[in-house]
Amino acid sequence: MRTLVLKNFRDLRAQKWQFLAVTFLVFLGVSLFTGLYSSYLNIKATYEKFYSETNFEDFGLFVNPAPKRLLEKIRRIHGVEAVVGRITAYGTVEVGGKEIMVKLVSIPRENSKVNSIYIVEGVYPKGNEALILKKFSDRYGISIGEKLNLRVGNRTYTLRVSGTACSPEYVLIWDMSKRSGVLFVPYNVMEKITGLKGKVTEVHVKVYSDVDEVMSKVENIFKPYGIKKAYKKKDQPGYKLLRMDLKGFEHTALMFPSMLIIIAALATYVMLSRVVMGQMNVIAVLRAIGYSKTDVILHYLTYPVLIGVVGTVAGIFAGYWISSAMTSSYVDVLNLPYYVSKIYPNVTLVSVSIGMLAPIIAGSFTVKSVAEVEPAVAMKGIAVERTIGVKFERFSIMTRMAIKNVLRNPKRTVYTVLGLAMGVVLVGTSLALIDSVNEMMHVQFDKINGYDFKVECSNVKGIRALNDVKEAYPIVETWIVFERNGITEESTLIGLPVQDLYNIYDLKGRRHFPPPKGIILPEYLAKKLGVSKGEVIKAFTKVGVVRFEVYDIFPQPLFPACYANIDQLERMGFKPNYVIVKGGNENELKRFGRVTSIKDVRKDVEEMMSMMNEFFAFSVLFGVTLASAMIFNTVTINIMERRREIATLRMLGYTVREIGESILIETFILGFFGILLGFPMVLGVLKFFETTYEGEIFKMPFVIYPQTYALTTAIIIATVLLSLLPGMRYISRMKIEKVTKEVTG
């Protein structure tokens, strides 16, 4: 059998590009699966490790200032493992001459047993010291030992940085106004800063028995003081967002590689059936000499096995490399001190099985069917060509040939069109996701937020009187808890006058105005509460229990909120607590209260999105690679399969150019259908993302800009043309005499 093995290698060498292209597809599928899925597991493991090491809470309460001694009462409740109370406040610190907003969070004298602070560097703070979030320190280059000038209201304090830290409550800071600045300050210092002596405004609890039971007991304790918000672990905003994102990640990690593996299997099937068909006579000879059916099957199975082994082994290595790079860059965006990157035997096992089995199974179909053929029949060649009868005398001979080739091998045509469609899906979806991110930024910062600053104060007149302020309006922004049939749902209530700085949009991009009366609810909330238009709903707010008529319900992009008219809210007893300003100057505005600059927020968000865009750019590249591998494969097979026909045409006097034209026309026909099929698939994938990433804290608008269609089409066509080159080169350099002599039957 040595010579048969030799033949394997010779055949491989003779058709190395085709084999490489197919192997590459397997490689892509396996590496993507290994990479994405183990990234998913890494990220999950990272969260789990961090949340468990820092004793993440089982539930939390945001309350009006209540005595700290109540914590003792909570500790005595059966089932409570640990409890921590906090006071929080906002302030600014001066870094490099710039005032940066920070959130101040109190921490007990000793690290708590729930929501523990994870110290990355330095020590737990004592006296006038504070720990700062690791990312915050990295970003502004604040080092340990440095003194921070803190301003809260109109008083100033000096805090020494005792170290950098991470906290399970602030893994993902999704509220744009909070930014990355969190300072963990000893409780007694916070008492002084806030003036809330012996009080707490947040309670975080870890339990070892039933959460609901303990939670309701704790709620009872704080009821007299007023509970702003109560949530369970799964509803903690950062945790929830991460879990959602992780779910989407898992879907992606399964969907894209599966599609690729299917494509790889198809490619193996098509390529191998070409190879085997082309060697019909060789098979007949082998059988006539005395090689058995099994010998022949094993001989040809070597190819898919080799494709599988090489693609899989390389894919697994590349996959783990991708996974470690991906995990680290994903975790980099978050406030986490470390990441877990492991090798998962189960993932490897799955990769090995699909990476090997897909080509082998696909390959065995053709190999087996051919080995079944009787040598006496094979000797005569089974040139069963089926052409679908179409009249096309109107076209030139070259066009006719192109059309005939498309119709000649329907299976291959379908495979190529599917492969091209896949390329369109990858390229188109990635570009569309970039569009979606841009659209999101556009909706948030050009449409919804038309103002430049948001100032925490109620002095509209004072602000309007400032020189370069163009417009300023008071707004209400506060918490609200709805209750209906025993279901409570917490949200944000925003009261607006009719103006153009803070606008309400629905997911379709239609603008809405503050209702004359009643309240606008985001669709998800209305669904949860089971409430419909025109009904009246009860809610707890700052000003006590209120009732609203539901004026309208629609899905909202990005950060859904409940909107009402500010006049109505004022009549109910709410006081405007922010002023939105167009124009003006940050430093002057600061005199009125805490200022949030939209420009800064936008910059922060864009920074966060840049990683996403990198990822999408990577998938565009990936799509291009995939499309070229596919197209290259078909074109090469097409040419190799017809090299005798092409040689004959050239002998007859057709020029390389004319033959090339025919192949070009053929490829364009395939490309046209691939693109036609691809775009609906892109829309399907986007729809899928839309349902996967359906969130209540965050809803991304998925869009495709018209120019993206054009760009995708251009990319695919360019890819097609590039992958045609080697085939064209082959034709032009083809030795006609050599081809005609190769004849084996």
């Binding site: 059998m1 040595r2 010579t3 048969l4 030799l6 033949k7 010779r10 055949d11 003779a14 006579n281 060789v282 007949a284 000879v285 082998l286 059988r287 006539a288 000499i289 005395g290 090689y291 058995s292 059916k293 009787e374 040598p375 006496a376 000797m379 050599k738 002599k741 190769e742 004849v743 084996t744 039957g745």
Partner: protein, 238 residues
């Protein structure tokens, strides 16, 4: 009468019918023939008379529709797939009309391909020398002429030390001189090594080198001629 020696190959009332939709094409009708050990037999007949069909059945790559085929005392027409493969492997050497070499293997490797199938093959270089191609051992098929390729095919058939070599128009594609060279190689092997040859052709001239000539027409054996005085291929002309 003395009991007749068992023939190397014997067809007994062999039929081959191809079913083409509603039409039956009868390729062989009631063919009976014998090829004795060490004989050089030529089958003559016009195109479409069933020669190739007969040869394929003789070599165990096709099966009769009806009738029996014996190789020595083995009834190969009753063999299963595996039995036929073993039969081909151990007893038969094929030389086809078209060259049927593996294009990605050199001359020597093509011969090796067959040598590896049996326990006691001839020396590959020696066989190539016998067909006069030692100097082309490392050439690929596309680097050789048609006659050279055909001689490689003979070497490949020979290397297994088969009992019988079946040739389907082995000179059909070759010019006169080259054809003669190929026939000479076969005849020499037949004489020196005693290998039985069954050659199919429509070229009547070739029959003059045979010990026995079987005439085919319309799928039937039309007549059998014994040539008591076969000539040397050198003396052939057509």
């Amino acid at each position: 009468m003395v009991e007749k020696e068992v023939a190397m190959l014997r067809f007994e009332g062999v039929w081959k019918v191809y079913r083409m939709g509603r039409v039956d094409v009868v390729a062989l009708r009631d063919v009976s023939l014998e090829v004795g050990e060490g004989e050089f037999v030529v089958v003559l007949g016009p195109s479409g008379s069933g020669k190739t069909t007969m040869l394929n059945i003789a070599g165990g790559i096709d099966r009769p529709t009806r009738g029996r085929v014996f190789f020595k005392d083995l009834e190969i027409s009753s063999f299963d797939e595996k039995g036929l493969t073993d039969f081909r492997r151990n007893h038969v050497g094929f030389v086809f009309q078209f060259f049927n070499l593996v294009p990605t293997l050199t001359a020597k490797e093509n011969v090796q391909l067959a040598a590896e199938l049996v326990d006691d093959p001839m020396d590959v270089d020696e066989v190539l020398e016998m067909v006069g191609l030692k100097h082309r051992a490392n050439h690929f098929p596309f680097e050789m002429s048609g006659g050279e390729q055909q001689r490689v095919a003979i070497a490949r058939a020979l290397v297994k030390r088969p009992d019988i070599i079946l040739g389907d128009e082995p000179t059909g594609n070759l010019d006169f001189e080259t054809g003669k060279k190929v026939l000479k190689v076969m005849k020499e092997i037949n004489e020196k090594m005693g290998t039985t040859f069954l050659i199919v052709t429509h070229n009547t001239a070739i029959s003059r080198i045979a010990d026995k000539i079987i005439h085919f027409r319309d799928g039937r054996v039309f007549g059998v001629e014994i040539n008591s005085n076969p000539i040397d291929p050198e003396e052939l002309s057509w």
